[in-house]
Amino acid sequence: MIDVNTAGEVWIFAEQRDGQLADTPLELLSKGRELADKLGVKLAAVLAGHNVSGLSAQLGHNGADKVYLVEDPLLEHYQTNPFAKVLDELIRKHRPQIVLYGATPVGRDLAPRVASSMKAGLTADCTDLQIGDHEVKKTGTVYKNLLFQIRPAFGGNIIATIINFDRWPQMATVREGVMPMPEPDTRRKAEIVREKATLSGRDLPIEILRQEIQERKVNLKASRVIVAGGAGVGSKENFKLIYELAHSLGAAPGATRAAVDLGFVDRDHQVGQTGTTVRPSLYIAVGISGAIQHQAGMSESKKIIAINSDPEAPIFNLAHYKVVGDLNTVVPMMIKAIREKV
């Protein structure tokens, strides 16, 4: 752990693969910018890899004041130990007050390892971050300007606000897709601070033999309209209805975990707590009962249409348009209406 350092910077971990930044670090920059401005400190990105300096400009355009750049051939491919070592060393040296990671498979592998070696706190999968004060009731001590790490817990049934006031840095992983993307400004430039990593082959206990990356077939996060099917759709065959309705709207087809588990559609389409979190303009829930885990991934949609034959389905509590009826008749009616109007 490091001592409390209220002048410390706000950091984000700039996850990259093969020299490309994902969306997540950019989302972290937009939230990080807000936090840094509130605290009156600098926002920095930690960029580690091999031949990645070219990404510094993009980090600057998206809000970073500074980029801590660590380049080393041993950092070419992500693995836990060397990246954890880089972060551990940088954090001890520069004492940031906040360090944010994307709650991606990499972020969730890396951040706990760093938290453990730093003996610092870490809150997983935050959906919001704010700056606020905390009073310890027993002693009356007030800690000002702490990071409020807000996350759903208990399967999404409660929202917990977590803090750490005495053992810093304050660290959190942030769920993908819940923070808005920043507006890039190409005039903005980040100061580049080159750092050396003290790495040797012994820091790389893992040998990566093969890697197959499948680009996602569907980009739920970027879609304005999502048509999602649940277990109520009934079969893989019948899931065609979801695709057809989606197609008529230029929408992305989504699904609940139940529909994925039943084999109607593959996991790329899954919306919800263990899938993708989305916030489209319109979410059409077809044959979805509305388990809280699913709601956690779509409740921020601007408008929701629910089509379900069960009038008691919890999804109706969220819906702006409630259609109680058989999806096999309602969906074709919608497709027809859309085709005729557009």
Binding site: T80, A84, P105, V106, R108, D109, A111, P112, R113, A115, S116, K119, G121, L122, T123, A124, D125, A153, F154, G155, G156, N157, I158, I159, A160, T161, I162, I163, N164, F165, P205, I206, I208, L209, R210, Q211, E212, Q214, R216, V225, Q273, A291, I292, Q293, I305, P314, N317, A319, H320, Y321, K322, V323, G325, V330, M333, M334, K336, A337, I338, K341
Partner: protein, 291 residues
């Protein structure tokens, strides 16, 4: 060669099947009313350990940290084939966050002879996925997260396949290793009838004491004589430094808890007729939601 596996499991409230009975009138969840279950992905971790034992031999030790009632998941592990079960229970564990929990569990794991430590990727009550990697760091061993399959175990070398979200990765590393296992890894076996009969009376001392019976000591003794007393450790027994346990050992604190209330918003009922559906579509086009 044979491999000794330690499997770390957790008893969790069943957050996946929240029935009306577990809901309060205000739409919030009554956590106390949820049934306690074996954390699902920990069952996958146990299955993997049993699989390793079936293929190569070795011992499977299952550990859990929790209240006396958590002995329940240890019994379930014995029914499925675990060789030994250990309950880590101590009032001073209360309010441990993931860092303190991983410290306590790492102290316990250090007490036994292991080649492989296994745990589920995450528990369904917190969904943090942090305890596994933190234990690996504290033990100073390699972590392999999101394990989907062991491809090869040969001497001290492990080749395994990980699911990295947008694809798969095959890695090679040397034991000892900690692996976090995902639900796609396998289909956990069910309790074996014979083992169920053999271990159904297995219990921990804490569990017997928690029932409040007067003859707890005698009962524990009787169970011990049958070889069914589940081993129990407290923080002193595992040599844990209290400064790193429980509330004091936890950097993260709860500022506030809000219950999620499922409430109706401004909404319209739409008839399932062609006319009403067309009117709804028209409205969405008019307000530029679609089109």
């Amino acid at each position: 060669m044979s491999y000794n596996c330690v499997v770390l499991v957790k008893q969790v409230p069943d957050t996946k099947r929240i029935t009306v009975r577990a809901m309060n009138d205000d739409g919030t969840v009554n956590r106390g009313a949820l049934p306690a279950v074996f954390n699902p992905e920990d069952l996958n971790a146990l299955e993997l350990a049993l699989d390793i034992k079936d293929c190569y031999g070795g011992r499977v030790t299952v550990m859990t940290m929790g209240l006396p009632a958590a002995t329940g998941v240890l019994r379930e592990a014995l029914y499925r084939g675990a060789d030994e079960a250990i309950l880590i229970t101590d009032r001073r564990c209360a309010a441990s966050d993931t860092l303190a929990t991983s410290y306590i569990l790492s102290c316990a794991v250090s007490k036994v002879d292991y080649d492989i430590v296994l745990c589920g990727r995450q528990a369904i009550d917190g969904d943090t996925a942090q305890v596994g990697p933190q234990i690996a760091e504290k033990l100073g061993i390699t972590q392999v997260t999101y394990l989907e399959r062991i491809i090869e175990l040969n001497g001290r070398t492990l080749v395994a396949r990980r699911n990295i979200g947008n694809g798969r990765q095959e890695v090679r590393t040397l034991l000892p290793v900690l692996m976090t296992v995902i639900d796609e890894a396998n289909e956990p076996r069910v309790a074996a009838a014979k083992r169920l009969m053999r271990y159904k009376d297995a219990a921990s001392r804490a569990e017997i004491e928690a029932t409040g019976v007067n003859d707890a000591m005698d009962r524990a003794k009787a169970i011990e004589e049958k070889g069914l007393l589940i081993k129990q450790w407290d923080l002193d027994g595992i040599g844990a430094d209290l400064a790193w346990c429980g509330r004091d050992g936890s950097p993260t604190k709860v500022h506030r808890i809000q219950s999620v209330v499922l409430e109706a918003q401004e909404s319209k009922a739409v008839e399932a007729t062609a006319g009403a559906i067309a009117a709804m579509v028209h409205e969405l086009i008019e307000d530029h939601t679609i089109g």
